[in-house]
Amino acid sequence: MNALQRSGSDSMAQSPRSPTSQAPYLTVSVTDPAKMGNGVQAYISYKVITKTNFPEYQGPEKIVIRRYSDFVWLRDRLFEKYKGIFIPPLPEKSTVEKFRFSAEFIEMRRQALDVFVNRVASHHELQQSEDLRTFLLEDEQTMERERSQETGIFKKKPADFMQIFKDVQSKVSDVVLGKEKPVEESNPEYEKQKNYIFQLEDHLAEAQKHAYRLVKRHRELGQSLSDFGKAVKLLGTCEGNSLGKAFSELGAKSEMLSIKLQREAHHLLMSFEEPLKDYVRAVQSIKATIAERAIAFRNHCELAETIKFKEIDLNKLRLTRSEKLADAEREYEQLKADGKESKRKFETIVKLMNQEIARFQEQKTIDMGVAFHEFAKGQANLAKSIAEAWRSLLPKLEACSFFVQNPDA
């Protein structure tokens, strides 16, 4: 996501006043979270700033106010319209933390939303979406209207969705139970890809879990360094002069280091743990697309079956020269058109998915590289500053040691 932003801002370095001689760009930023409303109704609103030279956008810059459910709306629309494309993931809907709205939670969410919308804006197909334009340009009332219109239509998706999901993952158990063999693609290459995705999710989830724990450990170590520092300072008050000072300085250093640790904990969270979590979500989004592909395939196959049966019926009717023939022929033609359409849909998904997998791998390689780099950098810098802080105490401790051993010096 840093990569995307960076490439975005690189092209923004050119003056937006020379539209014709310049590469098309569309960059968005999600900023300025503000708490709105009270109590149960409270929510966070974000400023969404769009900078672009796309002709459809009618202007170089636009600022709108959006809330989380607006982003959800956009994502759902994109998911419906662009089957086969890996729609970027959104941060989780949270029911509990929502009420607490800690600064950290708000920052994590803002970052994730920013990444989401930029990914959409830099995807060559998604960026053309009308829904994206609505999202980026319309005023809040219009947005609210759009949102409330959609809630009914997509309601049944989750259940349907979960069913397909289960089928995709548990085909073996179905066969064992003697159920009808689910209609599945038998493409070995695709099988490999699916396996890869499922395993990747497990690995990423585990890595993210440990990354989150590491953030916590940094915080805990910071806290105990602070407590230790205070205790050491107090202990120093029992001693006089040089030794007492040594204690108090050590205590002060310890407290200072505690602050550094808290800072690094935050850095680790935002630049390492969150990107990992983001990719876990991204993989889950891919799984959703996999499910869509399975649905499309099944539709296509079922239609093909239906068409075959219809053909048989039709021939029967032709032989008996029934009056139902005309109707049947019309239905047949309709079915054939539907069949073509469902085949087209399926094949589009397959083609898109192949492109998307390659794009995903490329992007993941970059993003993961950056995240690991941030991790290593953070750790090295932290260690360096801690080591220097401690090291600066040593000359004083040496002096104190000398003084203690030669009190008459």
Binding site: H203, L204, A207, R213, F228, T237, A387, P395
Partner: protein
């Protein structure tokens, strides 16, 4: 957990406190800048090794392989080629820092020599007395034991190696059981009143089953060793006959029944804070002149008293002894405050160690998870850049695992250094006991003084009445003679008591001085050790 480490801990804390080599596998620790390992964070970041699948084996190079370099990461790697020079930076100032001890070291050029924390004992001359407690063996007592609790016990082998003249020999090996240690402790506290005699290890109330548990025996072995080593560090006690006998005389030591019963009862009060235990023990001893029966009665009433009194009670539960020594009162206050701060600091030190441990563990788990992830990605890679990135990630992951191992080593050292806090907490208990020796002695004087004055007044009364009856009563004359005899005896006793008290006061004073100076030295060493340790660890793990 602390068991076997303590052997070396105690040993080295009083001798060369070398900052240990944390990284066992590296051959030399001096030359980090040309380290062939990529397993630290700095070099992991600078590697862009594309061709090699085994970056750990390739010679170190700030790889600038443009063909497969990641344009994103490449520019940001510029700051990090300086990591070798950071290693230089961190070493050189340490070499310039003034070294205090001109200790006879083997002349190694190791940087660590400069960091050596010089312990006090080095400056006290070349006397040494090294003790090891080992080889616990179960033995069976042949005769019927008076003490309930079974007739089997454990003996420990105590090996002594010394050059102290009074010991007339250099190596001794004896077998002792815990009961012998208790007796030694009792004899020491009897004979060295006013001194800060180290507190002996707990004798937990036990059944024979508990005694046989391996863990318990090991714990006790460690505790005994610590205790004997502490005794040896006391400049006066290390030359005492009692200790010498204990360490050198072969064969079984005589046991005293009275000691058994009394100390069993005493140890039954294990639930009570140790300082109260210290006080009560010396109360018993000061009534040595009295028969055991009375002693036990007093003991039981004291038991009740102690149960009701507050933890950090500096003798207020007993009838207030008139202590006019302001200096003493001041010192007591100071020590009380020190004790509180030590307790607090030790608690925070424990949680610091725990936090470091957790950090190390999680770091290790993270590293392993990433190693698995990178292996997985590598296996399924379809682009070459993926393989490159996987290799980089593997370096970071390996660095994390290494850091995790080093955290464990760091903690072991941190525990060792901060243990000084615990040592001093224990020492303060000895001070309590020494101060109560003094209070007892003073109270003895006061008792004797009041006895004397009552004897004198009785004698005076006798004289006036007998002078009235001229010619006198023989019995009355005898009584007077008896009284005069008692007075003489009591005056003698009082003289002796005063002498004892003054001696104890002197002991207190000299011990306080010793405590003050030793404490300062020990604390400085503790701080130095702790800080140096942190620096070295961070250096090794991350750069």
């Amino acid at each position: 957990m602390m068991g076997s480490e303590n052997n070396h801990i105690q040993e080295s804390s009083r001798e060369q406190m070398e900052i240990p080599i944390l990284n066992e596998d590296d051959g030399s620790n001096d030359d980090v800048s040309t380290s062939k390992s990529y397993s630290n964070y700095c070099s992991a970041m600078t590697t862009l090794s594309s061709s090699s699948e085994h970056p750990l084996l390739t010679p170190p190079s700030i790889a600038t392989n443009p063909a497969s370099s990641d344009p994103l990461l490449f520019p940001s790697h510029d700051p990090f080629p300086e990591s070798p020079s950071y290693a230089d930076v961190i070493i050189s100032p340490l070499e310039d820092s003034p070294t205090v001890s001109s200790d006879g070291d083997g002349g190694s050029d190791d940087v660590h020599r400069k960091l050596r924390v010089s312990p006090r004992s080095q400056l006290e001359g070349s006397e040494y007395l090294r003790i090891t407690v080992s080889d616990p063996k179960k033995e069976v007592e042949s005769s019927n034991s008076f003490v309930p609790g079974g007739n089997s016990y454990v003996t420990y082998l105590i090996t002594t190696n010394t050059n102290i003249h009074e010991y007339r020999g250099s190596d001794f090996r004896v077998r002792r059981r815990f009961r012998d240690v208790i007796m030694l402790a009792d004899r020491l506290s009897e004979g060295y009143k006013g001194y800060f005699v180290p507190i002996r290890p707990d004798k937990s109330v036990m059944e024979s089953q508990v005694m046989q548990k391996q863990e318990f025996v090991e714990q006790r072995r460690v505790a005994l060793e610590k205790y004997l080593r502490r005794l040896v560090m006391h400049p006066v006690i290390k030359k005492s006959n009692e200790l010498k006998e204990f360490l050198t005389v072969e064969g079984r030591m005589p046991s005293s029944a009275r000691t058994d019963v009394a100390s069993n009862l005493l140890d039954g009060m294990m639930a009570l804070p140790k300082q109260l235990l210290g006080e009560s023990r010396s109360v018993i001893e000061s009534q040595d002149a009295v028969e055991p029966a009375k002693g036990r009665r007093d003991l039981l009433s004291l038991f009740k008293e102690l149960k009701q009194s507050v933890v950090h009670d500096w003798g207020r539960s007993r009838p207030p002894v008139e202590e006019e020594d302001k200096e003493l009162l001041e010192k007591k206050e100071k020590l009380h405050y020190l004790e509180q701060q030590l307790t607090n600091a030790s608690k925070q030190a424990e949680s610091l160690v725990k936090a470091q441990e957790d950090m190390g563990d999680t770091m290790g788990e993270l590293g392993l998870a990433f190693i698995k992830l990178t292996k997985f990605e590598n296996d399924h890679a379809i682009l070459n850049t993926q393989r490159v990135r996987a290799a980089d990630m593997k370096n970071v992951a390996t660095a994390a695992v290494k850091a995790s191992r080093l955290y464990r080593a760091l903690n072991a050292q941190t525990v060792k250094h901060l243990d000084t806090l615990h040592e001093y907490m224990g020492l303060i208990l000895s001070v309590h006991s020494a101060f109560s020796d003094r209070s007892s002695a003073l109270s003895t004087i006061q008792t004797l003084t009041s006895e004397l004055s009552s004897l004198h007044s009785r004698a005076a009364k006798h004289e006036t009445t007998s002078s009235k009856n001229f010619g006198g009563d023989n019995s009355r004359i005898h009584k007077l003679e008896e009284l005069k005899e008692s007075i003489r005896v009591t005056e003698d006793a009082k003289r002796r008591a005063i002498r004892d008290y003054e001696q104890i006061k002197d002991n207190n004073r000299s011990e306080m001085k010793r405590l003050d100076s030793e404490r300062q030295a020990d604390f400085v060493n503790m701080l130095k050790g702790f800080v140096t340790n942190q620096v070295l660890f961070l250096f090794k793990a991350y750069c």
